[in-house]
Symmetry: C2
Subunit: 155 residues, 2 copies
DNA sequence: AGATATAGTTATTGTCAATAACCATTGACC
DNA sequence: GGTCAATGGTTATTGACAATAACTATATCT
């Protein structure tokens, strides 16, 4: 048996000293984010669906006709990464690339019917997953947390 | 000029719809964490020093004589990853592996004098970096944020 | 028309970390 | 005391992922 299992959540072990780490917001962010990530695949019932891939589909759903270059910009990806992401969902028949009549360099990306259904299910799974991650917080605390986080990552 | 520069912080672009994403704690955590990460290397003046590598050194400093297997467990790494991490710091003369007399399978890891100095400097840089990340928050808000994050990642 | 920029894909590369396989040492148990 | 499993560590191999570079096609600017 391996010492650490793949995707196992990292436990906080108070028998060691963490030095300055426990007073760093960045450290706490990383830990919480890793915990989220480690459970995500199981929560949505498909290891291949990562938070990033889910967010790509969500963005396409929320912005029909989006260009890949816009996806890349929104999520801070390179162009090839956006291409690969769309390849992933296209292979699963969830999105289609339609040639734009006005600018034939670019595609508009749209959800297919399968994509709509998949996204609807995914949204619910992810919502449930996210709620589980934060069950230890009251509604008020949760709101507070999101507000503070948003302040950090928007400025 | 590339569309997205390496390690550029991701900006929030309100001209797009984010669907459910903005109401997900996991999404906010990821964004904030990525922002932290993207600035870390520059803040400490050395791209090779990642948050993970810094945390390894911090842990060795806070727990002299630590075993590699303990490091791995604390940070959720595989054994080889811990080995590589220590190789990194050993090459920079910051740590030394001393044979344990009681158990000659394992090493105790200790900071060298260079390591002590390096860690002292790093601590300050990282502290400053972390403060910058959260300048938009008051002391009270910051305390609140850390408390909530801690609740999430500890259980 | 010619130069430059933009959208997208493909090819190549590099980083990182995990698993598997291996060595040495220890501990358990008969 | 001897075998066998477990533990700490390293090395070898593999795989995932994303970035840069290079390329095609189209659009824009002058």
């Amino acid at each position: 048996m391996a010492a650490t299992e793949r995707n196992d959540p990292i436990l906080f072990d108070s028998s060691y000293s963490y030095g300055q780490l426990t007073s760093l917001t960045g450290f706490a962010l990383r830990r919480a984010s890793l915990l989220d990530f480690s459970k995500f695949g199981d929560s949505v019932g498909d290891r291949a669906i990562t938070p990033l891939r889910y967010s790509l589909l969500e963005l396409v759903g929320a912005n029909p006709g989006l260009q890949q270059v816009a996806l890349a910009k929104i999520l801070g990806l390179s162009k090839p990464a956006a291409t690969l992401g769309m390849d992933f969902w296209e292979k699963r028949n969830c999105i289609s690339r339609r040639k734009d009549r006005d600018d034939r360099r670019s595609y508009g990306i749209y959800l297919t019917e399968t994509g709509e259904a998949t996204l609807a299910r995914l949204r619910d799974d992810v919502r449930r997953h996210d709620d589980e991650l934060t069950t230890c917080l009251s509604d008020e605390e949760l709101l507070q947390l999101r507000t503070l986080l948003r302040r950090i990552y928007s400025g």
